[in-house]
Subunit: 221 residues, 2 copies
DNA sequence: CCAAAAGTGTTACTCGTACACCCATGT
DNA sequence: ACATGGGTGTACGAGTAACACTTTTGG
């Protein structure tokens, strides 16, 4: 049962799957729900797009692995990050047996460092409604990620991860409506949010083409 | 990256964890929430109690693995079975790195075959309020399982897996109250359940020491 | 002065909760 | 007859959903 490290390899009495954390990283930009994908360089599925992710190291748990991958791809270390499912069909990776532990991540588009990550692979944001062909079973994983996201849309703490540091209530409502894709009443939305106590108003205003909107921030600054 | 099968072992370029499905199998008997545990024969933790579970085979996915383990331990193949979390601390198993994919299972106590499973290990049902010392991090897994169970107590479809084929509304309510450990109003409980349409009344009555109670069954017979 | 988004309260309805008495059976 | 659990309806309150007009700025 124990592994031995000999001749640059690892040896086990019984077959072991590889275990990877894959992350569906969402953000909202210009009124669209966007997903981060990376372009695969090697085979299989070379040239196709896939979810960022990576194999579990022996000295970290799965949450740490996901957080590490998120940091590498986006430069963000403080973000909403949550497990939502495992994907384990025996043939989902043609190379070897790989168990994918899938995470949902949410970040505000402003928090991304411009040179996102140092991974050599090409990185791109895609509108969720216009995804390219995807490697492996990642299309299925994304569907499940979206479902998980939508099921939590009423959690204001989650929504707050998708807006900028300072935000207007309309922006927050827009994010809400993009996720669940139906409109809600402005007054009800605002009242519900303010009485959670999770956000506080600032003295700043956003200047736009029309009447300025008050900016809010998270209660914990 | 590929594995090779040579001299009775499996060889990988990078270290791989073992992956196991562990199952918290709950039932209700005599007004108590019970959990199935097995007594470990070998080391580590020999003689201590643990959750049933087993390693993932290369030809099955995780759900199938959990269902197989459930069948082996209880003789039940049609039961509520649902993933609720992964446990992946690097040192949770002293032998080697093991990722535990944890499942919640619910079965009616009547559906258990008497000679539950063919596994040689000793099997026992324990009151949740009176568990023995547990191997590995299984105490933590059980806490998480219970939390998951309680969070879904309002799903009538789930509750129905914990009662017999034919059941009285009082029995169902008792199960509800045991899980969330607080009392609810009889009339409200019954009304809510009946209007889901998930259960239908039968012509049978349960005869007891007092007024007979109507027996119900699942809507899909 | 016009267009565009910001901001603000009240009413109706739905759903959940609280509550008390009579009934059927076994002993 | 009595003890025990089975069975039933209504009223109130909380929370959710519907609804319209005024304000502020830029062009």
């Amino acid at each position: 049962m124990l592994s031995t490290h000999e001749a640059g390899g690892y040896h086990y009495r019984y077959p072991h799957p590889a275990v990877a954390a894959d992350i569906a990283i969402f953000t909202v930009r210009e009124g669209k729900l966007m997903l981060l994908l990376i372009k695969r360089l090697g085979s299989p599925f070379a040239g196709q797009w896939a979810l960022p992710g990576g194999f579990l190291s022996m000295d970290e748990d799965l949450d740490s692995c996901a957080r590490r991958e998120l940091l590498e791809e986006t430069g963000v270390d403080k973000a909403f990050l949550e497990h939502f499912g495992n994907f384990s069909a025996p043939d989902r990776d043609p190379r070897e047996r790989v168990i994918s532990v899938a995470y949902l991540a949410l970040i505000g588009f402003d928090k991304l460092s411009p040179k996102a990550g140092s991974d050599a692979a090409e990185v791109g944001w895609f509108e969720l409604s216009n995804l390219p062909a995807l490697a492996f079973d990642h299309a299925k994983i994304i569907q499940a990620a979206l479902k998980s996201l939508q099921s939590r849309v009423n959690d204001p703490a989650m929504l707050l991860h998708l807006v900028h540091e300072r935000f207007t209530l309309s922006q927050l409502q827009q994010v809400y409506e993009i996720i669940c894709s139906n409109a809600v009443d402005k007054r009800n939305f605002r009242a519900r949010l303010l009485e959670t106590g999770l956000i506080v108003e600032t003295e700043e205003m956003e200047r736009g083409a029309h009447r300025p909107a008050r900016l809010y921030k998270r209660a914990g600054d």
